[in-house]
């Protein structure tokens, strides 16, 4: 009898637990957040169109100067390891960003990066779509906001300026160019 009463009380009233939705991976750039509208100035329409506008950018020229003057800078390539092996900014290290998994999966590796140097993330993408999320994650890990930036224009811009590169896809006989 008791069970019947309980069943009656629960009739149609038990909320199901969160179980499932689509198992499809997140689309690329799905982690662009609603921060967009908050941080961008309405006067700066170009900036508003950028993904992750709250992430500070640094130009290739500035980075190259820092490297040349032995400034305290670490360059991080966020492409997959095969792309990195083929071509990357000289002396950059590789921590791949995978848009199909939560960026926090990389926390253990990201935390290895030094806290006392400027860390510049870059990707082979036009608007820092893969490097900017890494910058945001570094902030979550407690890194100072002014110590972590995304390279504006990424690898493409670096190449356009003829700055030093390394990798297996570079001209035969030399795995470095631009020096």
């Amino acid at each position: 009898m008791k069970a019947q009463i309980l069943a009656g009380l629960l009739l149609g009233s038990l909320a199901a637990l969160p179980a499932a939705v689509s198992a499809r991976p997140l689309p690329k750039n799905a982690q662009q957040t609603a921060d967009s509208g908050k941080s961008a100035s309405s006067a700066d329409s170009a900036k508003e169109k950028l993904p992750f506008p709250n992430v500070p950018r640094i130009t290739a020229e500035e980075v190259e100067k820092l490297i040349r003057t032995k400034g305290n800078v670490v360059i991080v390539d966020t492409d997959d390891s095969m792309s990195y092996g083929a071509e990357h900014i000289k002396d950059a290290v590789n921590i791949a960003y995978d848009p199909t998994v939560d960026v926090s999966n990389e926390d253990q590796t990201l935390q290895v990066l030094p806290g006392d140097k400027l860390i510049v993330f870059y990707c082979n993408c036009p608007h820092e779509e893969d490097s900017a999320p890494m910058v945001q994650e570094m902030w979550q890990l407690g890194y100072a906001h002014d110590k972590v930036k995304a390279l504006q224009g990424g690898l493409t811009r670096w190449e356009q300026l003829g700055y030093p590169l390394s990798g297996t896809d570079l001209p035969k006989g030399s795995q470095e160019k631009g020096e």
């Binding site: 069943a7 009233s13 179980a19 499932a20 689509s22 198992a23 991976p25 199909t100």
Partner: protein
Amino acid sequence: MSRWAKQIETQVGIPTVCVAMDNIVHYAVTYIREYYTGMPLRFVAVPFPFTGQPKAVDVGYVTGKDMLNGGPLMASVVSALTSPLTANEKISGAPANESVEPRLLPPDTEDNLRALFDAKEWSDYNWINLPTEKKVMAMLRGTSHKPDEIIKTVTITGGARPLSVEKVAISAVMAGASPEHFPVILALATQAPFGNSTSSMANMVVINGPIAKKLKFNSGTNAMGPYNRSNAVVGRAFTILSKTAGDLRNNVNAWESLGSNFQYNNILYAENEDNLPDGWKPLHTQMGFNPDDNVVTVGTGWTSISSVGGSQELYPVHYLMRDYMSSLTASGSAATIVMDPTVAGLLQTAHGFKTKEQLSEWFSQNAEKTAGNYWGNGVIQSTVVPLALQGLEPYAGWRKVPNETMIKPFTNSRAIHIVVTGGKIQTTWFVTDFGMRRGVKIDDWA
């Protein structure tokens, strides 16, 4: 591994076979295949463990049997790379969707429903409040946010799940929380699911701000023990919502070999802000929040070492903490030192640490371990070695020194956090390797 194999096959066009460990390969050929890759990858399996073994053992694995089909391993590798695709393997396309649970379960007896929740692994196996629609609606009155608002999309193996306010409310009800706890739990949900690995990963949750007193979170005697309702139910809610939202099921997606008892409550406590020494800021204000902000901070780590008995004048307390720190992985320089207010006072008055930051910097400069000890850790091997091999200093240099060389592995003092809690009963403390993420403002979820 499946991800890389799929990439090599589909993007580079090279036939690929995955060599997995026997203990986990079935996960790869079932769940991963079904929900992640959408393509049948070929696997062979060797015994576990693989790492840390003498080379002769690993060589024996290679010359031995494929643990999946029982044949010689290398023959299986060659066969996997060269044999034509079967009809089943020619099937391609998007991965199958997971089965979708209904929002409401059909009515049933309480016993049956409890059995269902256990069978589905929707609980921590302690007694839960069954989340009736009425109870969930009551919980939702603890926030101004709408039930269908998506807090975040949780990426799980092979997919993504939107985590809504209503789903968090269900976990909050199950954990025994009250509506006034709900904003704290929603803020915690932004950090869900909790950390989980094959070794005993656990989590630490710190409450800061006026809400700690308002909701009677414990920051005094037994702050980290089972003596307070708010600490108990909010910590437990994080476990339940992490398990359900993160699809953490034993031997399906949760693979901690020993597991961690910390995962029942996630070491949830409040900082004892009233008893911080002058000049020592609460954790949340160190992170840039205002003192009156209510903030929850989540850390992830493995190790916790407790002091035993009171501190002694013979050997200053920070020396002993430093020595204990040599046992931590130092991965990412992460450490969180939790101490009683009496210890904090001692460090300030007797040893001159005017701020938490000064103490963190001292640990960074003075905590040492041998290079061999540092590189002998599996997490360091997987996270630091790749970057060291790419030339990142100081790690590249540490790879070249003899094992007995002393190094200072806590290179980033900002990753060494100090939290003060406890009842001033004894001068005790914990040294832990928990790495703290930036706190989350609870007020945004009220």
